[in-house]
Symmetry: D2
Subunit: 342 residues, 4 copies
Amino acid sequence: MRVGVLTGGGDCPGLNAVIRAAVRKGVQDYGYSFTGFRDGWRGPLAGDIVPLDIPAVRGILPRGGTILGSSRTNPLKAENGIRRIKENLTKYEVDALIAIGGEDTLGVAARLSDEYGVPCVGVPKTIDNDLSATDYTFGFDTAVNIATEAIDRLHTTAESHMRVLVVEVMGRHAGWIALHSGLAGGANVILIPEQRFDVQQVCGWVESRFKVRYAPIVVVAEGATPKGGEMVLKDGSLDSFGHVRLSGVGEWLAKEIERRTGKEARTTVLGHVQRGGTPSAFDRWLATRFGLHAIEAVRDEAYGVMVSLRGTDVVRVPLADATAKLKTVDPKLYAEAGVFFG
Amino acid sequence: MRVGVLTGGGDCPGLNAVIRAAVRKGVQDYGYSFTGFRDGWRGPLAGDIVPLDIPAVRGILPRGGTILGSSRTNPLKAENGIRRIKENLTKYEVDALIAIGGEDTLGVAARLSDEYGVPCVGVPKTIDNDLSATDYTFGFDTAVNIATEAIDRLHTTAESHMRVLVVEVMGRHAGWIALHSGLAGGANVILIPEQRFDVQQVCGWVESRFKVRYAPIVVVAEGATPKGGEMVLKDGSLDSFGHVRLSGVGEWLAKEIERRTGKEARTTVLGHVQRGGTPSAFDRWLATRFGLHAIEAVRDEAYGVMVSLRGTDVVRVPLADATAKLKTVDPKLYAEAGVFFG
Amino acid sequence: MRVGVLTGGGDCPGLNAVIRAAVRKGVQDYGYSFTGFRDGWRGPLAGDIVPLDIPAVRGILPRGGTILGSSRTNPLKAENGIRRIKENLTKYEVDALIAIGGEDTLGVAARLSDEYGVPCVGVPKTIDNDLSATDYTFGFDTAVNIATEAIDRLHTTAESHMRVLVVEVMGRHAGWIALHSGLAGGANVILIPEQRFDVQQVCGWVESRFKVRYAPIVVVAEGATPKGGEMVLKDGSLDSFGHVRLSGVGEWLAKEIERRTGKEARTTVLGHVQRGGTPSAFDRWLATRFGLHAIEAVRDEAYGVMVSLRGTDVVRVPLADATAKLKTVDPKLYAEAGVFFG
Amino acid sequence: MRVGVLTGGGDCPGLNAVIRAAVRKGVQDYGYSFTGFRDGWRGPLAGDIVPLDIPAVRGILPRGGTILGSSRTNPLKAENGIRRIKENLTKYEVDALIAIGGEDTLGVAARLSDEYGVPCVGVPKTIDNDLSATDYTFGFDTAVNIATEAIDRLHTTAESHMRVLVVEVMGRHAGWIALHSGLAGGANVILIPEQRFDVQQVCGWVESRFKVRYAPIVVVAEGATPKGGEMVLKDGSLDSFGHVRLSGVGEWLAKEIERRTGKEARTTVLGHVQRGGTPSAFDRWLATRFGLHAIEAVRDEAYGVMVSLRGTDVVRVPLADATAKLKTVDPKLYAEAGVFFG
């Protein structure tokens, strides 16, 4: 039995932990061999492989990124993409494929598995936590910890100068990182893509915070957009909700707050710091368990499934379920956080 | 409506986050007043109170420990304990009580609620994660992160000297911290209280690690005990499994490994570092949600319940369920980790 | 003896540690009383004071920011500024003043002391490390640690996608943070305000890094500027070197690299995260010693001086020396780092 | 020109940064070749070598430990040790040797250089900071940061239970780690090997801290010893001051404090956590500069010297100076800290 492994889409802390766990268990418990494909779906498409055995995965557990590289290559859009993948799997004698990725990567795996009979097992990954059919994806906890630490640091400098600090965090279509880090960091305003914000209301919260002699921290997801049409946009494209995409909402919002409240405001854009570096303990544990269970699925010939966290259990769900619909923040959950606004 | 709040048992990162969230929501959304009781059950027993309002809870979210103090006082063992508590609740006009604690603290709340009609809501807390009826308790994730960081640091020093490093982590009756931090840290041996260990087998794992030119990390829960009778004990008491309690299993094990394998071994005892300091983002989020939901339970007059995490939802469970049985590590889960031993 | 204390200019981790040490030593060893002035020079100018005694400074050692608040108020520009300060010092019976701040704050202290006979002792503070007459200022080590951690995190994500990551760090006039964090983080390009950079040379370094199959990290101080006139400027103002000031050099540079090399580039702007939050151990130690020695200077009636770090000793230097000239990065030191470029 | 490199004695964060910097500069600027010797002086003694070139040192900057391994092998005690080293240097065509280590390792380098004409350059290393002739050694700042973080965490748990927390930190003969981390962490008692402590005085400080309703943190260096003869010793050996060596002073002291004050006390023994893992930014910067300057010394044929930090400069000092005398804590510096005791 030879198992292929690939990692697709944006990288995320914990990818290496999945790879390591799968290889350790596959080799030791079942005598499997492994082949790594380089750069997501580009690997099986182009026949670009790397050796993958126990020495290759030693010491990678705490390392961010992915030893296999990643890309956004979509084989469904490549000429004869599926046929070339099947040919390369045959050529390299790969009997089953573990695809680690987000919506796009797993969507390809679902179609390969369901429509073309390629034996795939999916492992969910996204720092945005916006994949359906799993309680959490690994990478998310790490991102939230990093954003929370940044918010912690900003409180004291904000208060020393009685300034507004705006932190722009990741989350183009879903506000999970903003919501969790905002709650954990004690932010006074949390803005998410799921709900357009009212700049005047934001300014009201900012001002009520100053009234109790504390300085406000505003956490804004990169995909959050204001109500109304007052925004000057950098790129003019449309976002997934059909309204115009913002580039640089953090900086824009800081300026708007300054203009309307007369208070100084500063912006921090954490960017890729949120997706790099060593995974949190939770993400290493989750990624490791996902790797182990992916191999169990291979052994059971349970293809077309994704491993998934449900409570404290790792279970299997159809790949198609995972990619059917983006998991966005429940309005009730967002409302729950509202008690801390202002 | 006046709500009393107390924190009992060993302290744990996140207690202050619960208190803050409960007070913020209670005051702002429902107009409740609050009374803090000092040092767990000692507070209502002795009538020792502290004022608790929004200014009192500002800025405490990221702080470890508890602004209310804690103790292991058991009112059921105090003379007229229950009567004195009821009298003090009446005296201070407290209509409902939020008890934040572990097995012992919540056990008292269960009896007060079920047998004496005192309106109690419980909030589960233990860094050991050994409370039934909730997926996780806050404090646990922080402890696991701290232990994992320590293990990360020990790998490089172990390998530079080709030594064994033994890390003793918390967990008197349950091995959750050892299991999670051991998996997350890439330990080569993980020993938990639920399963007596065979020193000779441990030495085998240690030696097989050296054979691949890596140095082994052994994570041992403070409550883990060896098979057989070869241990020299410091205090001679019996542990919860009926076998003699070890004090200093880490140090003992390091010596035993040195003696049997001829390799150098060193010990780190993390101790209270695991339970102090700022909570992880996950624990702040969980504790905050527990605080909010405890107030919802009070508003619904849902007494005799504990708030509990189920997947990503916070639900209510009978207090009695939470304290019926220690939640220990499932043997299957422990077996899953075995692939990394050696 | 009554000692006034104020903190001026941009806040910086360690300010509270200075205040605490000064108060502890003053009260305990010499029986001094203390008066805090709020918001830098605005405090003595406006007569805005806060009580300052041992209970007020308990627990503030690890906290970022300043309990006294800060501002950039310059009393030399205020009408009758000096006279009002002298009147307020008399009114509040303040016999000596400890001024904690950077170039501007200490410049005022120097003039007050030298020209108007106000008994001042200075304590140097700037995260930028650009004050002459001291080896280091506190706050700098913390900022460098934060920037270095961010760079560490960016390496793995850069390499997973073979992208350029540009990190913009603080340093408007001096490149100390960029130089130290760039060296510590293993950056492949470090750009500082002291030396205009050649975009084409930067692109050369970027490309040579890709050639060895690693992804480049570019650290750029916010005050760094390119050679030539190709920059589109946001604000058009002139910087301290007489060339036009850049706003957003990080983002500009990332775009320029993308355009010229065809490689993807991403930007992180750390912003105020670098100056907030708990100080590093070094900064707490340095700030504490500065606080103790400032009190010794008061006791010795050694006014008009600043405490300063020389090797491992804290010494006194004339206030005027500290503010005579910005301490910029020595070209030799910058050249030393060049071996790691590309 | 071929340069040999070895790392001896206890490992320490920053060793890899020295190796990397030396190799990068040697190869790129001067065209040198390198040979790594394994496990300190055992390498040249036994002729155990590893290849050392630019690819071998990529990515090791942030990694703790040493890629060359370490040991305490003393060639002066080995039969024909010096002759065998000279033979192996000749055999492997090594023209100069960079020895990175502490007192013992550099002592050997000094004798090899001064008495036997082996061209050696020393690089000082010790987490204990007890080497003369340099302001700081790398590894020390990392150890102090780790110990300080642990102390930070212990404050909140100590105060929640009004307990004494005793932290045993490294420092067998010198109290630098205890002094710096104790000051930075806000400890209430700091005990160092240089000055025997009076248990009764320690208990007095502990009690005076409780009187202001705060819980005391006691930082004790592993080599600290009490006055009088009341200690029960574990190993009975003599320490460097001629008094009997303590094993486990932290645990002993906690018990003694409990016995004398009636307060609960707990102990944390940080152990090797202090010397493992990624170096702080300061240590990476210092280690990198030491590596660069060691190569400059080789190029200048300046043998028999050690690179050393003086203020912000790296200079050369005779190897013999570095090892002549242990650098212990100046009594005046220790007295300075006394204002925070109790």
